[in-house]
């Protein structure tokens, strides 16, 4: 397929212009970086800065707003942002007490956010990093911290931001972030690779009739292939894997927040149907659902596929996820 734009770098620049033109949440660009701040989350002592490569729209630039991130920074398509850009946003959010960086656990993000965090600390700022690692397909549970971050980013950003809105201390905001990170698990499947924006070629070859399980969000291959299954068969299998993963950390799912995320080309019709299958599974297993949504939240350009994200809730997390918020990416009135 052909994109309506060929040059990835100008595409990201134009996309930022588009985002700044929306009415609703009023964002400010940070210098000439691919970065924005939402300066009106007034009650916060601790500020939340998120980021990652482009190609995942409406993440990451689109998740700054009331009740969500104070700053967001993007790299080029599928490349983590540079330390300079990240550092500029850390400064631009003007935190009284500290800044929490939230990003998906990929080498590139870890390296670039890490350099920016070190620079900020060297300049006397208090900075913590929450590396989202929700993708259960990407490593064994024993190597939880090696797992990649996919759509779980959104629940972690949501909870951490709501904690900051309550005026929580730096320490507590970080604790909430790590807890949500630990309790958030996702699994994705793809039936067609993303198309590279510059060459128009698929980013990996996936034979007709096969699906890729556990692909990352950056157009890379998944961890294994499997035969095609329709959603009514596939979804319960995926849910079994997710539930088993929670059980392995002695964390049976008591209450859940659920997000069905479309990766690019999967139709909203399918996302709704998948959402119905997920709910049926949870109802059968008597897991109450406090929140359920479906849509495109963290895409991988035009990849065909979806991910299921489950956050295990407790009395602290549930109201944080329920708090109102607004952004291009994610809104809860």
């Amino acid at each position: 397929m052909r994109y309506f734009t060929h040059d990835p770098e100008s595409a990201v620049e134009h996309a930022l212009a588009g985002l700044l033109g929306f009415t609703g949440v009023s964002l400010q660009r940070v210098g000439t970086h691919l970065a924005v701040v939402y300066p009106e989350n007034g009650n916060r002592k601790v500020k939340v800065v998120v980021g990652g490569g482009s190609g995942h729209e409406p993440l990451f630039l689109g998740i700054a707003g009331p009740g969500l991130a104070d700053g967001a920074v993007a790299g080029q398509v599928f490349a983590a942002p540079s330390p300079d850009a990240i550092y500029a946003v850390i400064e631009a959010v003007h935190a009284d007490e500290g800044v929490v960086l939230v990003y998906g656990n990929y080498s590139g993000d870890v390296l670039n956010f890490g350099v920016a965090a070190d620079d900020a600390k060297a300049n006397g700022l208090q900075v913590a990093e929450v590396r989202v690692h929700d993708d259960i397909a990407s490593a064994e549970i024993s190597r939880l911290e090696d797992r990649r971050g996919i759509a779980g980013d959104i629940f972690v950003i949501k909870a951490i931001s709501a904690a900051a809105d309550l005026g929580m201390s730096f320490r507590d905001v970080v604790r909430v972030g790590e807890k949500t990170n630990f309790q958030t698990r996702s699994l994705g499947v793809a039936s067609r690779a993303a198309t590279a924006i510059d060459t128009g070629q698929p980013m990996f070859e996936l034979p007709e009739g096969e699906i890729e399980i556990g692909m990352g969000l950056h157009g890379e291959m998944g961890v294994r292939r499997s035969a095609y299954q329709p959603a009514e068969v596939l979804v319960p299998q995926m849910m079994e894997m997710l539930v088993a993963d929670f059980e392995q950390t002695k964390l049976p799912l008591a209450r859940a927040a659920v997000m069905i995320n479309g990766l690019g080309s999967t139709t909203v019709l399918e996302l709704l149907a998948i959402s119905g299958h997920v709910r049926k599974f949870l109802d059968l297993h008597s897991v109450p659902v406090a929140y359920q949504a479906a849509g495109q939240f963290a895409t991988s350009l035009d990849m065909a596929g979806f991910s299921i994200t489950i956050s295990g809730l407790d009395d602290e997390l549930e109201p944080l996820l329920a708090a109102p918020c607004q952004s291009f990416c994610f809104t809860r009135p």
Partner: protein, 225 residues
């Protein structure tokens, strides 16, 4: 500001050192070689990661040559540190920081008006130390370290043998190329490729390939003495 001829024809000699301007031209030409490999490097990264290493490194190479073109340089160290800073700023991705800190290793070394085998060895060795602060990857893990580490070992030997810069660069480039080739067949343990296991074994690591392309560029474009 000095005018630099980026495309002047240079041929390899057996001189012991080159000056700041020559170093500026040399590094710029090696960076241009790297940028020219954009599509090949993307293709390698398609098999192992997200298909963008060529685009990313080309963006970094362009930013670095732009920065070099305009800079007032007081030492050969600055040629390397400027390159590293420009790459780190412009590239993003895993390789942005890694190439960035590697080139910026020269910052920790004594300022020098000439580049010779000894100073080059000092810069790159310092860069390797900086790299090791950023990643736990070791040779055999299918990363750029598979090219960097043997390259520096070769450079160290050349330095001990008091080899000319030309000879040293030739040996360094050859070692890097062998190292990059050796990654084909290895199981990835770092970076995006980590989760792919066997599926990514056959492909040569793009980051290691970039390192070897750059070092080959230095060896090829060294001016006659």
């Amino acid at each position: 500001m000095p005018v630099v001829l980026f495309h002047q024809t240079l041929t390899r000699g057996d001189e012991m050192s080159i000056n700041i301007e020559q170093t500026r031209s040399l590094v710029a030409r090696a960076l241009e070689d790297l940028a020219a490999k954009r599509d090949d490097l993307n293709e390698l990264d398609r098999g192992l990661g997200d298909g963008d290493h060529g685009t990313t490194i080309a963006r970094g190479a362009k930013a670095a040559t732009d920065a070099l073109r305009e800079a007032n340089l007081g030492s050969v160290n600055e040629v390397f540190t400027l390159t590293g800073r420009a790459m780190m700023r412009s590239m993003g991705g895993a390789s942005g920081v890694l190439f960035g800190v590697f080139f910026q290793g020269a910052k920790a070394c004594a300022a020098s008006p000439v580049l010779d085998t000894r100073t080059l060895h000092a810069f790159l060795k310092s860069g390797l130390e900086a790299l090791k602060q950023k990643t736990k990857a070791e040779p055999g893990d299918k990363t750029m370290l598979d090219a960097v580490v043997p390259a520096i070992t070769a450079l160290e030997q050349a330095n001990q043998a008091s080899a000319t810069l030309g000879t040293a660069l030739e040996q360094t480039a050859a070692a890097a190329e062998r190292g990059a080739r050796s990654t084909a067949g290895l199981l990835p343990r770092f970076g995006r490729a980590r989760t792919l296991g066997e599926r990514a074994a056959a492909v040569q690591d793009p980051g290691a390939t970039s390192v070897s392309v750059f070092l080959r560029g230095l060896a090829d474009h060294l001016p006659e003495g």
